[in-house]
Symmetry: D3
Subunit: 208 residues, 6 copies
């Protein structure tokens, strides 16, 4: 067999796969976005490091919620562009909690690593809440409001996986209180007391 011929043939056969959008499309974060994701980096500039994210470590939990979320979404990890998956690491100190939030268009898996977490999502037909321990995986279907609370006596941590490369988090308190809407409008549309709204607004940077 002739090596030159084989190489030539294989080059021919596989020429269309070089730089193929179907194999991968590393995000060019400086370019424009589109409904399907970011434009692809030129294929000849791609290296293995585009496929590896190296900051998946415990974040600083010295804050009022005693939690840290370390995302590996497309904006930190351009290799997942267009692939419909991403991850994050959740660390919770004693008494820590991730307040109510949702991810439009993304399902979340919570994979327990350490400690005990009481987690749940709420739907019109009822809440689904469970106390989780290592060995447990819980799914939060896309777009549903959910929360996590450290219900153990020590630290807790978990790996989160999302069915989207960019699962934006809609934190309920930030939505309701971190804005400039009149407190009366917020109260009217949430049925909360105006006093409650006015009390929480300053905590989340809201005005009005």
């Amino acid at each position: 067999m002739n090596m030159f011929h084989i190489l030539f043939l294989f080059t021919l056969l596989s020429s269309t796969s070089y730089a193929s959008v179907n194999d991968f499309c590393i995000a060019d974060l400086k370019g424009p976005n589109s409904p399907s994701g970011y434009q692809c980096k030129p294929p000849n500039t791609v290296t293995v490091d585009d496929f590896v994210f190296s900051g998946f470590v415990a974040g600083n939990i010295t804050n009022p919620f005693n939690i840290a979320l370390t995302p590996a979404f497309v904006t930190e990890f351009p290799g997942v562009n267009g692939l419909g998956i991403s991850a994050a690491r959740l660390d919770m100190g004693v008494g820590g909690s991730v307040p109510m939030h949702s991810h439009p268009g993304a399902t979340e898996l919570l994979i327990m690593a350490k400690g005990k977490i009481t987690a749940g999502f709420i739907t019109p037909s009822g809440p689904y809440v469970k106390k989780l321990k290592p060995g447990d995986v819980m799914v939060f279907p896309q777009g549903l409001m959910h929360f996590q609370v450290n219900s153990g006596k020590g630290k807790a941590s978990a790996v989160l996986a999302f069915s989207s490369e960019n699962p934006s988090a809609q934190l309920l308190d930030l939505l309701l209180f971190g804005n400039s809407l009149p407190s009366e409008l917020v109260a009217q549309t949430t049925l909360l007391d105006v006093a409650q709204v006015k009390k929480l607004k300053p905590l989340f940077g809201g005005r009005g």
Copy 2:
């Protein structure tokens, strides 16, 4: 030209389109559901009435919110099964409001028909709120928390269209207060005062 032959040929040519899942798939609501929607009714039982919904009329607004929502979703309108679209009619009395809610996985269009409605959605980067009048159409991107308030002096009404045949509504108050979660847990995960939670729970059927 010979009519018999033409008919024969056309029958041949088009035989695969009879009962095609690609043309339409009327929901058999008594059968099981699947991630792509309901099973299709047998094609030979389909009539034009499967494609028409006739109850798109103003509902009764004699209730605390002074509103009525009349849905034409797949469960009322089996003809939209698998087609990724549905509609609803919104009627609002003076002072009426649709409180905060979201539709996981469905974008909503609000098409003003009568009166004045102040509508908005809230995101981590800020609220987007507008006072709408007939001639206006507003879009609420999928999964985002939004509300509508009758801000005029008379009745208001609008047509809603959704990018899903089954755009379940996640009403924030029903989620937070219409359940059996301990009030302390709700307070912890929403940062609301426990007293506020305990005050609203009975209004939405919640316990605990």
Copy 3:
């Protein structure tokens, strides 16, 4: 609780959702198009007016068909880019009609507002035609040929919703007669008489 810390935390938690392609992607109509839609406007230039279309009013029906179609598609309403939904307003004078047409890849809902409209779509297995009145909604499954005729004694109007942000209309007469194909070729491929083709060509700007 310390406001600074909370704000800091929330900024951290939600940083990935700023400018997220998942929340919305307002079309930059001056930029290039792609199979998934237009590129997104820079997020910091987005205002509430990007989510509102204000020209959804009755068009001028002083024309041979006595109809007017007012679209709110992505080219008029950049806020629906990537969201798979759009709308249009249809106004029909006495005797008006929207001739046969189809929307490749888009399902249409017709929501009656005023008057009486006889509407239908035609498939190889038969026509589905209905006389509609206010309170009725009819669905025209994607890609099927359909029409609407004002069958009442006064004006008629309807709201149309589409399962695509850019539901291009393929008007049968414009396709068949508004082109430069030889009349003989049109006749051969439609089985219409050549004389019929030659009669209609000039009406739709066709040559040949």
Copy 4:
């Protein structure tokens, strides 16, 4: 190395792929349909013959159009269920033509095998027509009206591929004339002369 252990391990590792919906899903044509296609045949009854269609041969062109279309769609070839692709063989005698038609939601590739075919599709912005010979491939984007005419002096044939496993054909003449709609309604919505409609109705089995 111990064969038993290896086998045991591989069975473990790959157990989830047995009968996986992700590998393939042979249509159970006797079961119900759904928006995503037919239910899957039980995996243990699948044989290689489910993946092979053996009737892709020239059909009988002794008919008024001098053509034959031999489909390998999901209803004839259950192996393509859920895979979004299918094929057909087109044979055309001298003077044969496939009249105007569209495939809702399916793009078509025409791959020339023999003879000469003039093919085209028509859009509001103009017709795209080309005389094709062996070595040519033409694409007809989804949902657009198109036609094929044998423009050579002998027989012609082509392979057609579709981006759907069930690309229903909407034959314009059958739609317009093969139904029970009043001729006047057809004329009104097509702008054809009533006499033209009445002349063609009987040829396609229509009444009225």
Copy 5:
């Protein structure tokens, strides 16, 4: 405000979301499969345990490869049905390795938990290989051939996440050698020596 009225209204508003296919669709594993996944369990039988998988623990690595894979795919974890995401746990003893394999239609994230793993995927334009440690996440784009090797001095483990609820694994050796194809055919289509094929066949249960 009247509690009865509010409850009544909310029931009305949210009635369509009860049992909605859009919220979730727990797999009924005893029912038939379809291209979009399994049929949904009746909503009134759903409990929180349908959303939790509790066997995500280290498997037994006493086998020739010194590895264990513990899947939480739809067949073990019916709650992920239709949601496009799943997970698995990988445990590797000293010298353990997961041989070459691919997942058709699923992207994989590998999230390091312990030890050191050299992982990589191979494409026509080159291999992408990296020695990973805790804190690293690597993405293997859908359908590409990849492997993992314990390259540390102790045990290693990782969490895997997949962009599919049923990411069947195509293990190269099992594909090539665990079948009844003639060794000569395998050799011809892989360019391996016949002797090599004949040597490996018995290890993977192959005949011929």
Copy 6:
């Protein structure tokens, strides 16, 4: 009827379909790629030749494998951009074979044109292999490893269709041996003998 008015109306009605991304999006191969495909060429520069590929002819089979593959993928045929379909022509000399390969995310149809081809794909649950002749069509579900061998006494040829406009080919030998990975690593992750790996590496341009 007034021609001017009709033209004016039709222009209005169809204005949104000019240059619509929904009708077609010819790839601008010089622009950037995105997860949904290439950017669209400006619509006013599109001609019928963008929809026709004219090099679908037998390639040169004077090479060690006695085969030629002539692709009509998006990089050669920009008209299929965003449409999810493409084609290729396969020519095989006596004894020719297409070695094991897969297409991530694309299903393949093989439509026999001439000769005899033994084709098959391999899965964990077994191989599916068939000797094909003209009149046969075989489907290779997406992402599965497959091969084709000329098993007749003369030349063979086939048309291939793919459910992707860019079905990159992952040729097993090129993946395994055409790289710079250490032979020992390749051997470890394939279970092949190191000697076998070292023998094949030079044939495919690999080093190490």
